[in-house]
């Protein structure tokens, strides 16, 4: 019998929302692993090229946390998998209302109903709101074994750290349809983030080629930067954007750890009892990097890292071939840490671990990005304002379903501000998902620039 009970503050519940939005960009299911001391959300994308784990500390993140797993003593755990969308419909955006208006959530109580004498196993989430309202949600889950991607930071000598706000600025420069991101460290004290797409074809198609965007950043703008010069490492732009956007909700520093192309890269960040780790597959030009890596010349901070890299680098070239042959007969990943060295590769963990979660199999279709609920609101931010204005001037999409007629359903959620729809912004109002409940949380007086 598993006991799992915890209570969240509204702030923490809203952080759960943010992390679910982020994980939802990788997979449509999210796996949950509860241990005595901590609670972890994990997601693995359908191509198994990206693994995300967000760990919440039992003492720090939760107001109250209790987990007594079935068996296994200190290493015991309860794990299950749920639809990200289902969880998101409970952990909605804007759970945290600093003004504490009517209907604001006071606390969120979660318990697990997994008793033998109960008819159903359910995840029960109670949102206790002020004025005596309690919303109770019972969610189904699937008991699965959770798979973890392993990453050994000790072999990832290339590291940098940067404030998420700065990286957020950089991703906004990227074109919309690009696929890949090349992180290149030049010899000139600059690090270049380049978003691009592999060539499609020639001729007329050239003009359909997406933008190639290169953002050159002084390495001094990083909080910490220690990367071998000349190294190109390529990851997916979409993954990077999802990670940066989430890191930015926490206003924290984003740290990257990597060794070389085709070996995994890890992004990590966290604060207040939340630690997020994303292990991503990389590609890139192997030969692009100097064969014998020079101990990076332009470091600004001398750290133990540097000496480690220096001692490691002379053998790197020969080591690489060793590792390649070793990979083919690599042991299953769930192994004591001592045996995991240099094998944190994530190419295809599923094939090596037959007990992998069925819900995360290859057949899972790529998840469409969840709707940005914020877009319903008129932001105070300048760039958003600009976009609003652009949308108003853009030609209307008449093919979108918007008919004028009798609404007998008595469901008026979609028309909170009917005047909005009459003043030219209707193409946006109608894009909201019909099964999403929209609450009027912004006052008309807060809105400027629409009329």
């Amino acid at each position: 019998m598993v006991v799992l009970n915890f209570t969240l503050t509204p702030e923490a519940a809203s952080k759960v929302h943010d992390l679910l939005v982020c994980l939802g960009k990788f997979s449509e299911t999210v796996a949950i692993e509860a241990r005595r001391e901590r609670f972890t959300f994990t997601a693995l994308n359908s191509s198994k090229s990206a693994y995300c784990a967000v760990t919440l500390d039992g003492k720090q993140f939760f107001r109250q946390y209790e987990c007594i797993p079935d068996a296994g003593g200190t290493d015991g755990r309860f794990s299950c998998s749920m639809y990200t969308r289902a969880l998101l419909s409970v952990f909605k955006g804007r759970l945290y209302d600093p003004l504490g208006r009517d209907g604001a959530v006071e606390r969120c109580e979660v318990s697990l109903q997994d008793q033998d004498n109960e008819a159903y196993c359910r995840f029960i989430i109670k949102m206790v709101c002020n004025q005596g309202v309690t919303k109770t949600y019972k969610l189904t889950y699937e008991a699965v074994d959770v798979m973890h991607a392993l990453f050994d930071r000790s072999v990832a000598q290339n590291r940098w750290s940067m404030h998420s706000g700065a990286t957020r600025e950089y991703i906004e420069y990227f074109g919309t349809k690009t696929e890949l991101l090349d992180i290149f460290t030049g010899e000139d004290g600059r690090c270049v983030f380049k978003s691009y797409t592999e060539k499609i074809s020639d001729g007329k198609e050239i003009l359909k080629h997406p933008l190639v965007t290169a953002v050159a950043v002084n390495t001094s703008d990083f909080e910490y930067f220690n990367v071998q010069a000349g190294l190109h490492i390529v990851i997916s732009v979409k993954d990077f954007k999802a990670i940066v956007l989430h890191a930015d909700t926490l206003k924290t520093s984003l740290k990257a750890y990597y060794s070389q192309p085709t070996r995994p890269l890890q992004f990590s960040y966290g604060c207040d009892g939340l630690v997020a780790e994303f292990t991503l597959m990389t590609s890139g030009d192997y030969t692009g990097a100097p064969p014998t890596p020079t101990p990076a010349p332009q470091q600004h901070t001398a750290t133990p890292q540097q000496s480690r890299q220096a001692s490691h680098s002379p053998s790197a070239a020969s080591e690489r071939t060793d590792m390649r042959s070793m990979r083919s007969e690599m042991p299953p990943p769930v192994q004591p840490a001592s045996r995991r060295d240099q094998n944190g590769r994530l190419r295809n963990p599923g094939s090596r671990q037959p007990s992998s979660a069925p819900s995360q199999s290859q057949t899972v279709p790529p998840q469409a990005e969840p709707e940005d609920e914020e877009s319903l609101f008129v932001p105070h931010n300048d760039t958003r304002m600009q976009e609003e204005e652009d949308a108003a001037w853009a030609p209307m999409d008449y093919d979108k379903e918007e008919t004028l007629g009798w609404d007998a359903s008595a469901d008026h959620d979609a028309a909170v501000f009917p005047t909005f729809r009459d003043s030219g912004s209707m193409s946006r109002t109608t894009t909201t998902d019909s099964n999403m409940v929209i609450e009027p949380t912004q006052r008309l007086s807060e809105i400027t620039g629409l009329w």
Partner: protein
């Protein structure tokens, strides 16, 4: 072939490309050291002929080519617009023509001095800012970050002979010219009209173009009328008290006598300022969806003069806001008008159908008089 320019007015350039992008995906851009021309000639739809003086968008420009120092490019507007958007907060932006892997492209180099305020003004653990003297702090610790963003826009270089025969079409002198009311207002009303027309006749006959046919009319007494008619409804909006700018005799062939014979002078004799008279209107029929796209030029915020040639053409002149009044940049937007033939055909069938329906409903005999309208 060399082209290099420093962009001065990024905001105008961005709005211009956004407006053009609504009207067509590709623009023919003709660069010379005197002016820049953006032209959109879609297979179907609205043409744009924009002539911009260099200083409307560029600060310095250098154009060199074997063909009289003129370069013709085909540019995907969506990419150009996207690239320019990232330059909105730039300290400097430069655009130049380059080649990469033998593919021509416009490279936009943007230098931004990131105000570190944007993220470090709210440090996670920073009590440094509560006195408001955060500027020296920022400068000392990583303020003044210079980031260089390069955006590469794929383009096609057009040989001079492929564009040699493209000229702006000539139209006769307009019957009515009028300054349009704020385009946002116009757009929201016409969008609503179009939407209603589409909803009403989803199963009706005729092409979509004939269903969303918007009738736009203006007179020389400051009135603009926009109307749409379908089987089930007829709606129209009338604006009054708009202004009809005076023509400058010097700009008209024939001078003062030319002005006296000008079609608009004759139109002035007809109609009234309250918009109720049936006379004096110059009318054109356009596709409501085309019109919705055209309205997107409103984001430029300039004065828009509409020239109506009755039953023939509608041309909008969009003047870019400029400090010195004399050398204005102008966008000429030729709205696609629907030809008389398809209109007449659609009208007759509509009238007939209405007639039969009413007969069946009311048992009343109507006299059918179907002329062209």
């Amino acid at each position: 072939m060399r082209f290099k320019a420093q962009i001065q007015n990024i905001s105008t350039f961005t709005k211009l490309t956004a407006s053009l992008n609504s009207l067509g995906p590709l623009a023919w851009v003709k660069l010379s050291e005197e002016q820049v021309c953006f032209t959109i000639i879609p297979e179907q739809g609205t043409q744009v002929w924009a002539v911009l003086s260099i200083d409307a968008i560029f600060e310095t420009i250098s154009v060199q080519s074997a063909a009289n120092n003129v370069i013709n490019l085909e540019v995907p507007l969506i990419s150009l617009n996207r690239a320019l958007k990232s330059a909105l907060n730039a300290t400097s932006a430069q655009i130049r023509l380059t080649k990469k892997d033998n593919m021509p492209m416009l490279a936009l180099t943007i230098v931004t001095t990131t105000s570190s305020n944007s993220y470090s003004a709210f440090p996670t653990a920073g009590p440094n800012n509560d006195d408001g003297f955060d500027a020296p702090f920022d400068n000392a610790f990583g303020g003044n970050r210079e980031t260089v963003v390069t955006q590469e826009i794929p383009v096609r270089v057009l040989p001079p002979d492929t564009v040699a025969n493209l000229h702006e079409p000539q139209t006769r002198e307009p019957d009515v010219h009028i300054i349009l009311p704020p385009l946002m207002q116009l757009k929201s009303i016409s969008d609503r009209f179009t939407k209603l027309a589409l909803a009403d006749t989803k199963s009706g006959p005729g092409t979509t173009a004939s269903r969303t046919r918007l009738e736009v009319a203006a007179n020389m007494h400051g009135c603009l009328k926009m109307s749409i008619k379908t089987d089930a409804m007829s709606i129209s909006s009338v604006w009054t008290d708009l202004s009809n700018p005076e023509l400058d005799p010097a700009q008209i062939s024939g001078g003062v006598t030319g002005l006296a014979d000008h079609p608009s002078t004759r139109m002035k004799q007809l109609g009234s300022a309250d918009g109720r008279s049936e006379e004096g209107w110059a009318t054109v029929r356009i596709d409501g969806r085309d019109w919705g796209k055209v309205m997107s030029v409103g984001r430029l915020g300039g004065r828009v003069i509409a020239c109506f040639c009755h039953e023939h053409a509608l041309i909008l002149y969009v003047y870019l806001p400029n400090d010195n009044g004399d050398d204005e940049s102008v966008l000429t937007v030729r709205v696609r008008f629907l030809t008389l033939d398809t209109r007449a055909e659609a009208d007759i069938s509509t009238v007939l159908r209405q007639f039969v329906q009413r007969m069946m409903q009311d048992q009343v005999v109507y006299r059918l008089s179907a002329n062209h309208e």
